[in-house]
């Protein structure tokens, strides 16, 4: 589904992502792991059009999507969440989810100014769907609270739900459980499993190894911008290169 060929991104003298290639199969949870600074977030930023690639190509279902801007990619079915929370704290929880449906909504000025019927009907329709999405994570009760009043864990889940509003085919999750407690982590992985059951493909960047090994269909390991290893979870756990990258070059007893 997602095909990445030899992409490179250089910041000054440092190659954050260096001639990197991988493929993601449809309906898979494909995890990308690696030590801090390995270039995982840069990779996500390149796929989602935040950074321009210096070299290489990215294909989605056979179509070239290299260097297409983030907002246009959403219309092609790619959506993402952020490592550092990006929630509109000035809005309510429900409004944040409604924002996810934005690409389906009519925002023509004249119609908005005069409250055209179609705009009111849209609003009601998508409000129902937004509340349904909130139900997935049990947040209907706080729908009308300001997002700034809610805990970090809830907002992390809210970001994923907002992304679902765009009905994506591919979601890139950048460290969705960073900073969450085990209970919240479990809830997020359950949410991810439900999402995948709906034939959505997921690229997961995460440091929580238990979760990664638990839910991934396939794993790519990155180190210093290059691919270190790839395979199904059981292969990765036993890969000597991977162990060395994480634990250092000591004597293995």
């Amino acid at each position: 589904m997602l095909k990445i060929n030899n992409i490179t991104k250089q910041f000054g003298g440092i190659k954050a992502v260096d001639d990197f290639s991988f493929r993601v199969k449809k309906g898979h949870i494909h995890s990308i792991i690696g030590p801090n600074g390995a270039g995982k977030t840069t990779l996500v930023n390149m796929i989602t059009g935040v950074y321009k690639t210096d070299n290489g190509t990215i294909f989605l279902d056979g179509a070239d999507i290299t260097n297409i801007s983030t907002d246009k990619l959403v219309h092609r079915g790619i959506c993402r969440t952020f490592q550092n929370l990006e929630i509109c704290e000035n809005m309510t929880v429900l409004e944040n989810v409604l924002l996810g449906f934005d690409k389906y909504m009519d925002k023509s000025l004249l119609k908005s100014c005069f409250r055209a019927k179609s705009i009111l009907e849209d609003e009601i329709r998508y409000k129902d769907r937004a509340i349904h999405l909130l139900g997935l994570i049990g947040l209907e009760k706080v729908a009308h609270q300001k997002a700034e009043n809610l805990s970090y864990g809830i907002l992390k889940k809210l970001e994923i739900v907002r992304a679902l509003g765009t009905s994506p085919e591919l979601i890139l999750l950048d460290e969705p459980v960073a900073g969450l407690n085990p209970k919240e982590t479990k809830e997020v992985s359950d949410l991810i499993k439900t999402v995948v059951a709906d034939e959505v493909t997921i690229v997961l960047v995460e440091h929580d190894m238990k979760m990664v090994m638990d839910i991934s269909d396939y794993i790519t390991v990155m180190n210093f911008g290059k691919k270190l290893a790839q395979g199904i979870p059981s292969e990765i756990v036993n890969n000597k290169d991977v162990i060395r990258a994480y634990l250092g070059n000591g004597v293995v007893c």
């Binding site: 509109c88 000035n90 934005d102 000025l109 009601i124």
Partner: protein
């Protein structure tokens, strides 16, 4: 909440207040202050959409209002175009101007955006001062009377009604816009541009649109002011006028529908009330603003929230 025309209680209250007010106006001077308040309020409604909802600051709206006013006045006085049509041309011209400058300027954020709008404002003000063949330079120029399809606006009450109706209508549209998906997009730009981008919103497009809307409203108010006062000078487009407008919006309450109006009315009336203090007028004016911002950092509009909350608390 989703009623068809959304003519809510607060708009009716505003209309009643504006209708009753003239019965207390004893002379033309009070009318003049009232009309200037209404026109300032009009600009502030647009500026509030830009600053309070989309979170983009502009220190150039006085200059945009002034330039718009000049365009309308020059067209009608020098070229004999009817006032209404010259205002229309001024609006279209300023909309195009705003759209063009919005593209590079609104890429900037925070302090840098403030600096850029400030710069544009100062350039406009200099041009209006220097191009004296067209604008009459720092002496300003006199303006023909305002008429619409032969109906002349001469007396203050006519002007008052025109401005009041315009303000009510603008607020109604403003509220509709803010409560629509378009309004949500604006709020998301203030909340998190990355988030807005990640759900498919072309942030720079909507920033331009809201900027253009606010400049169009400023142009309308600026040109009406010129026709009303019968005179226009570069001081309308001065830096201090731009600052005054920003203070009105912030003092009234950023992101509050009525905050901008409250701020505009209070700050237009206040200097007049303080004239009896003579030399200390500016000092007291400044002290009041500091005092309000210290105790009501969310603006005067937040005062009404407190009152409402206390009333409800007592009822329970």
């Amino acid at each position: 909440m989703l009623k068809r025309y959304n003519i809510s209680q607060d708009i009716i209250v505003l209309a009643i207040l504006l209708f009753i007010a003239p019965f207390f106006f004893q002379n033309d001077f009070i009318y003049e202050i009232a009309i200037v308040s209404l026109l300032n309020a009009l600009i502030c409604v647009g500026l509030n959409m830009l600053m309070g909802y989309a979170g983009q600051v502009s220190l150039g709206h006085g200059a945009f209002a002034g330039l718009g006013g000049y365009i309308a006045v020059i067209l009608s006085s020098n070229y004999g175009i009817s006032p209404l049509f010259s205002i229309f041309i001024a609006i279209v011209t300023m909309a195009i101007f705003a759209f063009i400058i919005s593209k590079p300027i609104l890429k900037l954020r925070g302090h840098y955006l403030a600096m850029a709008t400030l710069g544009v404002g100062i350039i406009i003000s200099i041009v209006l001062n220097v191009e004296d063949e067209l604008t009459g330079g720092s002496d300003g120029m006199s303006v023909d009377s305002f008429s619409v399809f032969g109906y002349e606006f001469t007396d203050s009450l006519q002007w008052y009604i025109l401005c009041a109706v315009l303000l009510i209508f603008t607020i109604w549209m403003f509220k509709n816009l803010i409560n629509s998906p378009f309004g949500r997009v604006l709020k998301s730009i203030e909340g998190s541009q990355k988030a807005a981008n990640s759900v498919g919103i072309n942030v720079s497009h909507y920033k331009s649109v809201v900027f253009v809307i606010s400049v169009v409203i400023a142009t309308l108010a600026g040109s009406l002011y010129a026709f009303f006062s019968g005179f226009i000078s570069p001081s309308e487009a001065s830096f201090s006028h731009s600052i005054e407008l920003v203070v009105m919006v912030v003092l009234g309450g950023l992101g509050r529908v009525y905050g901008a109006i409250i701020g505009a009315v209070i700050l237009t009336i206040l200097p007049q009330l303080l004239t009896s203090f003579e030399d200390y007028q500016t000092l007291i004016y400044g002290a009041i603003i500091i005092f309000v911002m210290m105790f009501m950092p969310k603006g005067i509009a937040s005062l009404f929230d407190d009152i409402k909350r206390r009333l409800f608390a007592q009822n329970k």
